[in-house]
């Protein structure tokens, strides 16, 4: 694990908080991050499809699910941005949904590579 890989994940994940939540269980941490790598792209795709299909209720549902997953893993900025999409969808505001989606997409671009790099390295 290089310093830059640490720095990469620290940009997205509040690691002290997450370690406290898993009671410092590194095996569990690895298991949860592996589940995240597997499930996050599926949820993200569901969200994109809902936005393209212009169905606010489905956008709200998908954003809500993403928000929960990200929050559980202390990916705080990601969870906030997902919450913004959820709120915009609940309000039925297409322009706000798009703006929130843009912010979310920009944030999540580096998220999976950072988590994957962290998983490939040693303990934090």
């Amino acid at each position: 694990m290089t310093k830059s890989e640490h720095a990469a994940i620290d940009r997205y994940v509040n690691m002290p908080e997450l370690l406290a939540r898993v009671e410092d269980d590194r095996e569990l941490l690895a298991e949860l991050l592996a589940l995240f790598i597997k499930d996050f792209p599926k949820l993200r795709d569901v969200l994109h499809h809902a936005v393209h299909a212009d169905v606010p209720s489905q956008v709200e549902e998908a954003a809500h699910a993403l928000k929960g997953m990200l929050a559980n893993l202390s990916i705080q900025r990601g969870a906030e941005l997902a919450a913004n999409i959820e709120a915009a969808a609940r309000a039925g505001d297409a322009r706000e949904i798009q703006l929130a989606m843009d912010a979310f997409n920009a944030e999540e671009t580096g998220l999976l590579p950072a988590v994957a790099a962290f998983m490939g390295g040693s303990e934090p």
Partner: protein, 306 residues
């Protein structure tokens, strides 16, 4: 303590599962609401649950409503765990039947403390149910012999008389009285008399079928309700009971005390529409006849003694 967790997010589900296992819970993890409701509605299902709000098939509040509607025996402590956190959401969640509400991401200390609160409430409920059951038992049973008490046996007899009319069956009713019981009390004392009564209760219960009823009618009088027992068989059945009572002396701490019982019997056939009091009057007359015939015998009644 068993706990059910329901969440369609694999990360959240695994995190909760591991956290709760570490805290000593026996965890059942499911990923959709319908399965959660099914598990919680089982009679031996978990009585503590953490439910995500948004789930496929049935959401968290839907699970709460289903459980509250279907499971009435004992309370299930339901906690909604969700990233919905507005006041309206909290109200809606609690109105659906949830006992508590936690927002994601959970704080470990708070989660454990809230679950301990749930366990305390369930424990309190268990204690109340136990106390209620204890009171119900005391209200329906004789404290000395543990047989049904007079009020309860008469209530059951009234029910059986109604049932036999519907089912077109017969009920035999026997009233037994220990012979010379006053002498037992006078000779050995009331404590020995109580020992004798307890043993008589055991012998009576041992000599009837599981669907018959035995109750203490008065001091040394016992009422036996023989369900589905026709007139032709009633005397034989009651003779068996009489023999069981007098089969051997009762062993007490002061030695062996011989006892016998006299019994009167009445049979209520399907067409019999007499009220309970009249039938009891007939049984009483039959018991009197058994006593007059020299005791330690049984007599079938057909007349009402004035």
């Amino acid at each position: 303590m068993k706990i059910l967790i329901a969440d369609d997010d694999a990360v959240s589900l695994r995190l909760l599962e591991k956290t709760l296992e570490r805290a000593g819970y026996e965890v059942t993890a499911v990923s959709h609401g319908r399965k959660a409701a099914e598990e919680l509605c089982r009679p031996d299902g978990p009585r503590l649950a953490l439910l995500d709000w948004m789930m496929p098939q049935l959401d968290g509040p839907g699970v709460c409503r289903t459980v509250r509607r279907k499971r009435s025996q004992s309370h299930v402590y339901l906690v909604l765990l969700t990233s919905k956190s507005s006041k309206e959401d909290i109200v809606e969640g609690l109105e659906s039947g949830a006992d508590d509400y936690l927002t994601k991401p959970f704080d470990l200390g708070e989660l454990k403390a809230r679950l301990r609160t749930g366990m305390r409430i369930l424990e309190l409920e268990d204690n109340l149910l136990e106390a209620r059951e204890d009171m119900r038992y005391k209200a329906t049973h004789d404290s000395l012999t543990s047989l049904l008490n007079r009020g309860t046996i008469l209530e059951l007899l009234a029910g059986e008389l109604n049932r036999k009319r519907r089912d077109k069956s017969s009920v035999s009713i026997a009233l037994g009285d220990l012979d010379h019981f006053k002498l037992v009390n006078d000779t050995y004392g009331h404590i020995m008399g109580d020992e004798v009564l307890r043993e008589v209760g055991r012998r009576l219960l041992g000599s009837v079928r599981s669907y018959d009823f035995v109750g203490r009618y008065g001091g040394e009088e016992f009422l036996v309700v023989l369900n589905n027992c026709v007139a032709e068989k009633s005397v034989d059945r009651v003779e068996e009971i009489r023999k069981a009572i007098g089969s051997s002396p009762v062993r007490t701490t002061h030695g062996r005390i011989p006892i016998t019982m006299s019994l009167g019997v009445a049979v209520s056939s399907p067409s019999d529409t007499r009220p309970l009091e009249e039938i009891l009057c007939e049984v009483d007359g039959a018991l009197y006849a058994a006593k007059s015939a020299g005791r330690n015998c049984c007599r079938l009644g057909n007349v009402c003694r004035e």
